[in-house]
Point group: C2
Chain length 191, copies 2
């Protein structure tokens, strides 16, 4: 299963079996039951997670007590509250398993050691953050430019399998819809 | 003036005078008059810019013909449309000088050569993207969680010099306000 992680590294930089075995030693593997929380608001954000299988979501609780999902991570995605992780600060977010999940985790001190020991991992994480930041820039544009309904249409046309896979109330929480409104839009699109 | 760039690199990785001189050779320096555009919608996004002095903004034009500013970059900040830059694609954005500016620019092929020639620059850009992505994650939270007025209050309390420096109509364009509405809020806050 950690073969998936090796393949992900190899998208950006070559790595031998031996090097990968040394790199993998910096990580712990963790099985996460469905609906279990890996992080809760107010806790210090200790870990960076790489998803081997399953699906995580990041959310925060609004003043009105609603769960607002901000991110999902499926296979080959990294997830953490990056600001709190880097500075070892309490987080404003929750991270929860949407499906039973299998993840690799690393803490900030180990990640820094890993990067110093394996400079090629600097290249790997440079790409990971670069792609994530690029996607985030486009997302900010969509948040300004698109109505929530248009963002839903964008999601369904660009990530149809994802929209099928994730429970509808979480898609609604991501879009800032009520589940009822999402269900209305879906009916409208079908007819 | 390029000393500023050297100092910025040194925040993340040590670099000798000689190395820096080789690194700097990958960049061109460009003076940008106030209101000049470095990038226009529909053009291939060729360059990544580092601001030595002045201020750039990134914006797009909405369907209604409004300029929506999404980012500013002052001294020590990088700016590009990262998705279009990496893939050498036409952009949906404009980049414009808000003040007379002095920038360093690098194209995608040269940046890739630079990273292969100087692995320590992988570490530098890993930090640049990591910090930018972390800030972007918090910004997405604010976009969901805060009203536009709260975002303005956050801006003025966390970045007071920035709010003083940038023309008010651009702050309005960043927040998605009309200039009239911003002026009303400012009056209300003063009274």
């Amino acid at each position: 299963m950690t073969e998936l992680f090796k393949n992900h590294i190899e998208r950006f930089t070559p790595i031998t079996e031996e090097e990968f075995s040394d790199v993998a030693a910096f990580f712990q593997r963790q099985a996460v039951p469905k609906k279990a929380n890996l992080l809760n608001e107010g806790e210090v954000c200790k870990y960076h997670y790489f998803v081997l299988s399953g699906c995580l979501r990041k959310y925060f609780v609004t003043e009105k007590g609603m769960e607002q999902t901000t991110d999902f991570a499926i296979e080959n995605w990294w997830m953490t509250d990056l600001m709190a992780y880097e500075r070892r600060l309490p987080t404003e977010f929750y991270i929860q398993a949407v499906e039973p999940s299998d993840v690799l985790r690393i803490d900030q001190a180990s990640q820094e050691k890993l990067l110093l020991a394996f400079p090629k991992m600097e290249r790997y994480f440079r790409f990971v953050y670069q792609r994530a930041y690029a996607a985030s820039q486009m997302r900010i544009k969509y948040l300004y430019d698109f109505s929530k309904e248009e963002i839903y249409q964008h999601l369904t046309s660009h990530f149809p399998e994802f929209v099928q896979r994730v429970p509808q109330q979480l898609i609604a929480s991501f879009l800032g819809f009520t589940p009822e409104y999402l269900s209305e839009i879906r009916k409208k699109r079908r007819s």
